[in-house]
Amino acid sequence: MLAEFKGKGFDIVAVDIGDDAATITKFWKEKDLNLRVLMDSDGKMAEKYKVSGVPCNYLIGNDGKIIARYEGFDEMGIRASLAKAGIK
């Protein structure tokens, strides 16, 4: 999905809650995923975003406002929101 929309004004960042760099690197290598990962080691960011379960996704516009949020990974929903914002 990132490959499809990258460079069209859309980016994805993963936030890993509570794991260390070694665990994260190992996981991403195993899964052969190429995503930017931020480490929320103490879970403070997850708390700020009121994340109560993973996966949890927020779509944020460049004005810093929350456009949509999903508990679970709702690809259809994300695609609909991107289409609404003119990213195709």
Binding site: Y49, I67, D74, G77, I78
Partner: protein, 285 residues
């Protein structure tokens, strides 16, 4: 209803903080209204509005049943090409049915009625679902003043008025139940002058009479044209809708976190070069 939408939301953008001269009685009345709107779980009323922009006039009539946090049954009919609509949110989905096209759209519900408000273009509905927004009136140029009485549908309401810049005028009408019964907005000058009058009559807050409307389904022949999902109804670690993510349109909390390679990255670093950023929370532990 795009035209209406613009006008209904002008009030939010037109608010300025010119040295407000607080009127204690006006402020107290607004407080009572915010409290009453917050405490009222359900309201139903007949709705009418008239919007005059230049030589154009759009009149709309309808009926509201609104139930916190995000349940609604709203029917509209009006002039201006926006005929007979039904907006129906049962807390699991929101349907927007257009009689003229025999079509409806479907969305997952907004936790605090946000998509009902967007579809309904009504400040009254916005106030019901988010009473705090009334606080924005306080920042208006002249501050709030009680300027008299106004009878709406046989109910004597107090008029709370604020004057903004460019002789913009905002009036809200608060009934003896301390609920909002109507709004007047006069914005702009000359060709750009817009006057919005909206009224709620027959306001009732008893639950029993509203149940029929809240069980509505679209006509069998109506066609679903577009499915919009703002939030997954299932998935994740058993998280259910309504479990309290941050509200839509609120400012996302700032962050600055290390990447695996040790560099710090902030929300602004991501949003600056992009139109939209997906922040995806995971936990592999």
């Amino acid at each position: 209803m795009n035209r209406l939408r613009i006008i209904a939301f002008v009030i939010l953008s037109a608010i300025t903080t010119v040295s407000a001269h607080a009127d204690k009685a006006g402020d107290a009345l607004l407080d009572r209204c915010i409290q009453a709107e917050t405490k009222t779980p359900l309201v139903q009323a007949d709705y009418s509005s008239e919007i005059v922009r230049g030589k154009q006039t759009v009149k709309i009539k309808g009926h509201f049943v609104l139930k916190k946090p995000n349940i609604a049954h709203i029917t509209y009919s009006g002039s201006g090409g926006d005929k007979d609509e039904t907006i129906h949110s049962d807390g699991r989905k929101m349907l927007h049915y257009m009689e003229s096209e025999k079509q409806y759209t479907k969305e997952s519900p907004d936790l605090s009625g946000g998509n009902v408000v967007r579809s309904a273009n009504s400040l009254e509905a916005m106030v019901f679902f988010n009473p705090d927004m009334l606080n924005q009136f306080r920042g208006l140029g002249s501050g709030l003043k009680i300027t008299g009485n106004m009878t709406i549908g046989g109910v004597v309401c107090q008029t709370l008025q604020a004057l903004g810049r460019d002789s913009n005028t905002y009036k809200i009408y608060i009934g003896p139940d301390n609920l909002l019964h109507g709004i007047t907005q006069i914005i702009g000058k000359g060709d750009r002058r817009e006057v919005l009058e909206s009224r709620l009559t027959g306001v009732r807050t008893d639950a029993a009479s509203a149940t029929v409307a809240l069980n509505w389904t679209p006509p069998a022949k109506a066609k679903l044209v577009e499915q919009i999902t703002y939030q997954a109804a299932s998935g994740g670690s058993g998280a259910s809708p309504g479990s309290g993510l941050l509200p839509l349109n609120s400012i996302a909390p700032a962050f600055s976190l290390p990447t695996v390679s040790g560099n710090k990255m902030s929300l602004a670093d991501l949003t600056k070069p992009n139109k939209i950023v997906l922040v995806n929370f995971w936990d592999y532990g």
